[in-house]
């Protein structure tokens, strides 16, 4: 089966611009998670979807970040406007049931200039 796929793999934008990251979970996985790793730090939770509903968005840093999962399939994470501190690697993960291991994509490396 195909794993979790993320697009794009890299994105370089200027401060103030908008960027949208996409995640396609493993087919049939209801649970979808976003994480990010900023330079030198550990991977940190951003939010969790169950199907199209946000279950937990306690890790979202501020209102410049908007995550959606219309239809309960793929998800997008929009950053608008991007700031320098948003640079990092954004990971998406999915699981079939919430008490099962999470499977990660290879991430989107986001660089804000």
């Amino acid at each position: 089966e195909a794993g979790v796929t993320q697009f794009p793999s890299h994105s370089v934008i200027e401060k103030g611009q908008t960027v949208t990251l996409r995640c396609d979970p493993i087919s049939g996985h209801d649970n979808l998670y976003w994480y990010r790793r900023v330079m030198g730090k550990e991977i940190k939770f951003l939010l969790h979807f169950v199907k199209e509903s946000k279950q937990d968005e306690s890790g979202m840093p501020n209102n410049r970040f908007l995550a959606e999962r219309t239809g309960g399939t793929y998800s997008t994470l929009k950053v608008q406007p991007a700031e320098l501190e948003d640079s990092g690697v954004y990971f998406c993960a999915s699981s079939g049931q919430s008490n099962q291991p999470q499977h990660f994509g290879d991430g989107t490396r986001l660089s804000i200039l």
């Binding site: 979790v4 991977i43 990971f91 919430s98 008490n99 990660f104 290879d106």
Partner: protein, 112 residues
């Protein structure tokens, strides 16, 4: 807030030896703990999950222990191989299974 500590220094071992990595945590009572492997430029790859009521879990050359009294998990790779060289992450989860708290990882180097 919860704190998860993994040895930030790289672990260098000889091929064929057993590698032991440590994950310590404070200010948290996880319901389960997972270990992941991460290669440069790639996402974490799931290896093993152990629940709070389990003391030990094995999978092929891998073994994980979970001591909720010591607040510690040990991850062992027996008969290590150069291909085992990677960064290993531990991640703790609560009863709601909603999210993980990750350690910063330990880099393992297995020399031939």
């Amino acid at each position: 807030s919860q704190k998860i500590e993994q040895n930030s220094e790289a672990l260098n071992i000889q091929e064929g030896k057993t590698a032991t990595l440590t994950c310590n945590y404070t200010n948290y009572s996880p319901a389960y703990l997972q270990w992941y492997r991460q290669d440069p430029g790639r996402g974490p790859v799931f290896l093993l999950l152990i629940r709070e009521n389990e003391k030990e879990k094995r999978k092929e050359r891998l073994k994980v222990t979970f001591d909720t009294t010591l607040k510690q998990s040990l991850f062992h790779i027996t008969a290590s191989q150069p291909a085992d060289s990677a960064t290993y992450l531990c991640a703790l989860g609560g009863y709601n299974f909603n999210k993980f708290y990750f350690g910063s990882g330990t880099k393992l180097n297995v020399k031939p």
